[in-house]
């Protein structure tokens, strides 16, 4: 195993970040438009909300230009919009619950962490009206963010969705000594992400 911290300079980090943003956009955009083209006749009010959330998602994608930490509050707002779109797209089959403590809202994390974890759950799991996929996002008293979902693993991951979990682990490994923990039981998949103080300085070694 190589120690990626030593060999990956900042430049690589930036490039990876740019690639990440490009991956998310086109696929998500066309799927969303496809849903919207149906929704627009069927439910104009919901369509209006849908467009509003799409705008928020894309604004966030454009705003987060660097590897700057964002507050959990900001990331959650974005994740809510992203989740809204996926929930409309997979109505009755997919749900995201937000159970975050207000007090944690000013702590920080790397941008897109929540969105990538939601997407990761969709990538790896089956969902149907009778067996919905549910993602729960909550904060713990010890300042950790926990994203979990019920496990209904697909026999083959959906490769039309980019691989997100390893990206998150690598980004955190480059950013902090604190680790992203992944645990899996027969029923549940859980990722624990460290929340950093708002004045967190990237460790000097990096």
């Amino acid at each position: 195993m190589s120690d990626s911290r030593d060999i990956l300079p900042n430049v690589h980090f930036q490039a990876q970040f740019a690639a990440l943003k490009n991956q998310v956009s086109p696929h998500f955009l066309f799927n969303s438009l496809s849903v919207l083209s149906s929704l627009v006749r069927k439910d104009p009010d919901l369509s209006e909300q849908f467009i509003d959330h799409m705008a928020r998602v894309y604004r966030y994608l454009l705003e987060q230009k660097d590897d700057q930490l964002v507050t959990l509050g900001t990331e959650i707002e974005f994740a809510r919009s992203y989740a809204f779109i996926q929930e409309v797209r997979f109505a009755r089959k997919f749900k995201v619950h937000f159970e975050c403590n207000e007090a944690a809202a000013s702590l920080t994390l790397l941008p897109f962490t929540l969105q990538l974890l939601i997407e990761n759950a969709i990538r790896h799991n089956r969902m149907s009206a009778s067996e919905p996929l549910t993602v729960t996002i909550c904060t713990r008293a010890d300042g950790q963010l926990v994203v979990s979902n019920n496990l209904q693993i697909r026999s083959v991951p959906d490769r039309t969705i980019p691989q997100g979990l390893s990206t998150i682990c690598q980004r955190y490994e480059m950013y902090t000594e604190q680790v992203v923990q992944v645990t899996e039981s027969s029923e549940q998949f859980q990722v624990t992400v460290p929340l950093l103080p708002s004045n967190y300085e990237r460790a000097e070694a990096f």
Binding site: M1, F30, N31, S155
Partner: protein
């Protein structure tokens, strides 16, 4: 004309149905189906009634290509996809009909007109070429494992793994340089996740990689004994019922 829509987004399926009816109100949409499992079930009973199938790539439980593993589909297909460069290139190169989402009435009309004039059947050869082109003919096997040692996360390449074994319900990975690391997957799960050309389930406790097998001894008429490197604490035997599959595997 009888049509089947295989699509996991209800709204997109509804939209496609309404566009089909706008194109030709006599079209019958026999069903709208969101998963591979249900599609196979429907097709087993109704294939002969169908003239055309619209098929999304991503379905609730798997990619649509798994339908072809289970059924010899003798109906023309028009694939639908939102955005996937590789897929689109594969479709173009193999002149397979596809529609891009969001589907417009104009594109849909053109696709059906083309279908009517050609009545082209999507053959097994087309399918194999397509699967080849998009790398879907072989399942995706695990290439590395993330393990947590103390507070540190590491990744271990599958090529570094000698074997897996279970002991008192805990699964361990043993690397070629003899590190023992507990991992969260059961041996049963690992057996399905790893390339079966590389790994063999010797018995209930051991899943060994080809390169870890140093010697094979005939222990008795009904048993083989494996010598693995690095040497495990327990002896590893292959029971009678597994000897033939094991020999086939060695001879692949």
């Amino acid at each position: 004309m009888n049509v089947l829509i295989i699509e996991d987004e209800d709204l997109t399926a509804e939209r496609l149905e309404s566009l089909l009816l706008r194109y030709d109100p006599t079209i019958q949409v026999l069903d709208k189906i969101p998963s591979v499992r249900e599609a196979v079930k429907f097709l087993q009973g109704h294939m002969s009634e169908l003239d055309l199938v619209f098929m999304d790539i991503h379905l609730e439980d798997d990619l649509c290509f798994r339908i072809f593993d289970q059924i010899n589909l003798q109906v023309p297909i028009i694939f639908t996809t939102a955005f996937d460069e590789y897929m689109i290139r594969a479709f173009k190169v193999n002149s397979i009909d596809y529609l891009l989402k969001p589907v417009s009435l104009e594109n849909l009309s053109a696709a059906i007109d083309k279908f009517k004039s050609m009545k082209r059947q999507f053959s097994r050869t087309d399918l194999d070429t397509l699967l080849q082109a998009i790398g879907q003919n072989k399942p995706e096997y695990k290439t590395r494992f993330m393990v947590t040692v103390g507070t540190r996360i590491r990744t271990i390449d599958v090529a570094e793994v000698a074997y897996f074994f279970s002991e008192e319900k805990v699964t361990f990975m043993v690397t070629k340089d003899n590190q023992r690391l507990p991992i969260d997957y059961s041996l049963d799960k690992l057996t399905t996740m790893l390339n079966p050309d590389e790994f063999f389930r010797a018995n209930r406790q051991f899943l060994a990689s080809l390169s870890s097998i140093k010697n094979i001894h005939t222990y008795s008429q009904s048993k083989l004994k494996l010598e693995l490197a690095p040497a495990p604490k327990a002896e590893v035997f292959i029971g009678k019922e597994k000897i033939t599959p094991f020999k086939d595997w060695l001879d692949k």
